[in-house]
Assembly symmetry: D2
Homo-oligomer: 368 residues x 4
């Protein structure tokens, strides 16, 4: 490190390259001789979005790097959790910002909308980068006027996206990491066996409680028992490796059976010290998933208010694309769905001594 330059004086303006950044707003309406006041907002807000996308990708890239290690360092999981938390905070701002664009009325937008054709948010490269890095597969995407989504990018960017699509996404890296979870089999302890037994006990107890209750009508009992039966089949089905493989093939789930079991284990025993941060990690991914979806939804809502049933700026059938989008792009859906497999703490017995020790701190173990 050069000691000299470390102490050379820097100024806010040059450090942030403001001369460059603040001279990058050229209103098309103005260059066409009919300046529309609101076009500045349109440009600025999209540039702000792109700056935040760059930041988000900076964080996601670093988390992917951490999880690309053969053995993911404990510290790395903590750092990953913090950075995904930061991505979450950024998304809150991205969602909040939409209210600023909503101060532009449809009438004001009409003043310069025609000059923007065919530019469209579809052409945001960084947003696609983000989706691919998270784990959105190309075949689950909507098309752009019936062409693949990447038709809008130049050769160089297409190649970058291609490359990204052939790298392991966060979803895949986390799946790999989950599959390496070491605690599922330890000595006499086999988690799945353990879990199935607990589920059975829980269902038996509920069944008996329902049957023995005097104050319920027979009709009501029958309904509750039927619901319990459904729940029973559900649990049984989920815990069947073959069934899971079939659903994987039909794209109804995206992560492996092994990773699913590990995720369940982490959720159930998340208060054990060594599982605390892994649990936080899965929670953060689910939270980001929800926020991306909320952002798409709010964005659709805003476009609808701005355009009614008309098309978006790029010729895309704006409204349909956006409305559906909200429901189709859940990347970490499998982590959401782990909650269907949870059972009450009261039905989860204490872990065997040896396992508890292995899930805990060294200090606790030697000073027990």
């Amino acid at each position: 490190m050069s000691q000299d330059s470390r102490y050379s004086s820097i100024h806010y303006n040059s450090y942030l390259q403001l001369d460059r950044v603040l001279s990058s707003q050229e209103l098309r309406s103005e260059s066409l001789g009919a300046p529309a006041h609101d076009e500045m907002l349109f440009i600025i807000i999209h540039q702000v979005y792109e700056l935040w996308f760059k930041q988000i990708n900076h964080e996601l890239r670093s988390v992917a790097a951490l999880f690309s290690e053969q053995r993911v360092n404990e510290k790395s999981v903590g750092v990953a959790v913090a950075r995904l938390g930061r991505v979450s905070e950024i998304f809150k701002v991205l969602i909040q910002q939409i209210t600023v664009l909503e101060t532009m009325t449809p009438l004001d937008f009409l003043d310069f909308r025609n000059y923007l054709f065919p530019a469209s948010g579809f052409q945001s490269f960084q947003f696609r980068e983000m989706e691919v890095m998270l784990g959105l597969k190309a075949d689950r995407r909507h098309t752009y006027n019936d062409k693949p989504y990447n038709v809008v990018f130049d050769k160089e960017k297409k190649e970058k996206l291609d490359q990204l699509e052939h790298s392991r996404s966060l979803l895949e890296l986390v799946e790999d990491w989950l599959e390496r979870t070491p605690f599922l089999e330890l000595g006499d302890f086999h988690f799945l066996k353990y879990y199935r037994a607990a589920v059975k006990r829980m269902l038996d107890r509920e069944s008996e409680a329902i049957r023995n209750t005097d104050i319920l009508s027979d009709e009501y009992k029958a309904m509750r028992l039927k619901m319990l039966g459904d729940t029973e089949s559900y649990f049984a089905g989920i815990m069947d490796e073959k069934k899971h493989e079939a659903m994987l093939a039909q794209r109804k789930v995206t992560i492996s059976y092994k990773a699913t079991v590990a995720a369940l284990f982490i959720h159930l025993y998340r208060d054990e010290p060594i599982l605390h941060l892994p649990y936080q990690l899965l929670s953060r991914l689910v939270e980001i998933d929800d926020q991306v979806t909320t952002w798409r939804y709010r964005h659709a809502q805003m476009v609808m208010r701005m355009l009614g049933k008309k098309v978006g700026t790029g010729g895309s059938s704006g409204h349909e694309y956006l409305a559906n989008t909200a429901m189709r792009h859940h990347i970490f859906a499998d982590f959401h769905n782990v909650s269907t497999l949870l059972i009450p703490r009261s039905d989860l017995p204490e872990l065997p001594e040896e396992l508890k020790r292995n899930l805990g701190f060294y200090f606790t173990a030697v000073n027990a």
Copy 2:
């Protein structure tokens, strides 16, 4: 007014009846001998929601009262706009609050969920009141396990809802008021004729501009001209009273042709003084519509995270209900869609002198 009691001393605690309000939280898990810490949050947050619903309904009721007058006072429109703005601010809080409930993990919820059956948000009377007051018709609703939504309420509440459903909702009152807009025909001025001419001029000009552009390919020109043709048909179709009646019959729109034309007029000339507040009113209704929808959506998202694919607490198929709900309950959709009929200001010529005077202030007219 009794001068005496006006100055009698009051204390914060008794004024807010806190002894009553703060002793209304009884944890079911506690009375069953297995206190679940998070059940307090579940109770408190729902009570908070209900208090805010009461406030919202207080505002909506007052706005409906103002619009029930034969001639809606100018001042009333201003008051209505302010109160609807307040409802909007409340909805922002209701949406924000969801993050508090999200601090309860699925595992924690499992600790007391079973004790709540069959209670469910479906049974919130005030929320139904709100929907009905805004203008949601019973036949557009989802059912509750295939029964009408009001099966969950006792006789007294059913009657209240019935009564409300037979009163004029905000949507209907605003429709009535719009139909009474006096400026659409004034002397030689006929708004619709005026508007159609402006639309034609706009389309003609765009068509010529596209044809005369050298730098576009023939293929591209053809596409732009086709889009213009679609837009032309769209405008033509909308401005046809018969076609509108047909769509009304099919429930594709909910307000009358006359009201639609008035809403369009208000949007286009919203900067004219006498139309400023009417425009604000329509905007506020659209904003509230979007917020109710966003709230339903975020609520669905939270329930999904909490339950995965399982059922909601009341036996309702929670997830499907909530997911669809987000898309189906737009009450003021017609006001949203006015934006499809807007044309750029530059294509809207100056209003005739007499009309401008009638849309303006007395002071301006006499001092011109």
Copy 3:
């Protein structure tokens, strides 16, 4: 307007000049060979702030232009209100964003903080522009290490700020406009006389009510009467032109007596049609004032958490500057304080017919 270029194809990427904007992030820690991950966030968030400052100044400049007219067009007030509302929405985002920077811990910041000296937020030119445009006078500012605030800018920027400081700020333009309010004297109606009478009636009535109340103790009555006396002196004092001039000279108030009376009139009769938007304008200015202050406060809070008692990055005594700042820079304080002069509607009698007509719509007047 060139019809050709209007239809030339544009791409999202080039329209937003993203190649330029997204290549303006150079991490100092990286160029010094010790890349700090969090420096990217530091750069990006400040660039985002600067983009929003540009947008805010774009809005403020346009509002100043509207109010520079000799006679401010009615439509202009409406446009100004909408644009100030937009500035408000932006400030909500600027305040919300602080939570993103708070995801950077003090320990992380230490990794690159030393490389930033002496750059500091003090050097944000656009922020100073904003303050000056709003109406912050140079002599009310904090110094930068005991030098005038503008010592940090180069010659060109100093000249710009100088120029701005010698133009009329928003505060001054609005003051001018208030002084031109025509309704304060109309025929036999003299607002101040009218107002003083109403204040007297109100105070007399309260005084009598207190005296006649049996249920209060003598001690309590005495206290309430004393408070009433204080209120009386307060009102009397405020409505004295000489006293106001004295306070102006001592810088205890910033706008003229005439403008203050006009602001009071607008507040009291804000529901009269022609005063509705002027009232909104004053409210928006107060709201922005509060938001700038909240932003400074939250920023101080964040810096304190980041630095403890240490100095800020630029050698400024960060904490003291920021803590005091929150309390000292209220630009539109006089508009805040109008609320001290308000009296209940019930104490405000109906306006004379002629005045009401002049405050209303032409249509209402001719169709009464």
Copy 4:
């Protein structure tokens, strides 16, 4: 547990005791024959605040209970962190809600303000409970018209607050827990000695770098060296137990020397597994501290806008109380200030093997 009642049917309405809660809003203006529309909002929003205060206190009480154990279970720290995080989310809502009250204009408030005397937020018992539970000492409080703050409560409540004030607050419990941190002395490792050496190395290196830099002017070097000298004295002073005792006596700090050193240790080594949650705990306390302060500040701002310079509803000198309050009530200031003692990671050498093992997981240690 009674199996029977577990399955008895419950209804939303009775579970939430809505008949009770929703019939607790009695408008004083209405009982006095002059109903003010906005009084409903005033009542409802304060009831909502009180419900949330109850929830906050429920969480704080549970965290205090967890920390009252002689040996605070590892799991307990995790639970405490989650619950304090919930309190944080609630405070975000409490702060957001203020915008709802701001939709009530000063003129509207005047319509019923007089009927509320002498009720005042000063009389919120739960808010005082919260302050005391967090750790606010009675002598640091503002008085209520020069009387002790608890003069406004009846005998029963005064006794409760007295009792609370004599229990150990969260601040004290956390201080106790910090003092029990076992890692500060382990074998040959003495944290303080270790830390002082690292500080010296850091300061020496910076000093040399400054001296050896050619590109800085002598004047500039002198200034930077002086700043470094100040920093040096600061560190030296802080790490002196006697000096700390003196500051404790003068109430300039509130926690013991031992607890301060432990907090510093936790901050510096927060990525070590066993310190991760303790670090989160301290962060959460600081965050809540900031939020309470932000809430007080925003509340003051709102009251100022509502009242100008007038008094609050209860005769308290509203504005001064609130303005000062923002700056005086930092309960966890000492945890904020730990950031002044942090040094860059690059200056912090690796921990000795034995210590690292003791700060890590058992699994890592045995599989290393």
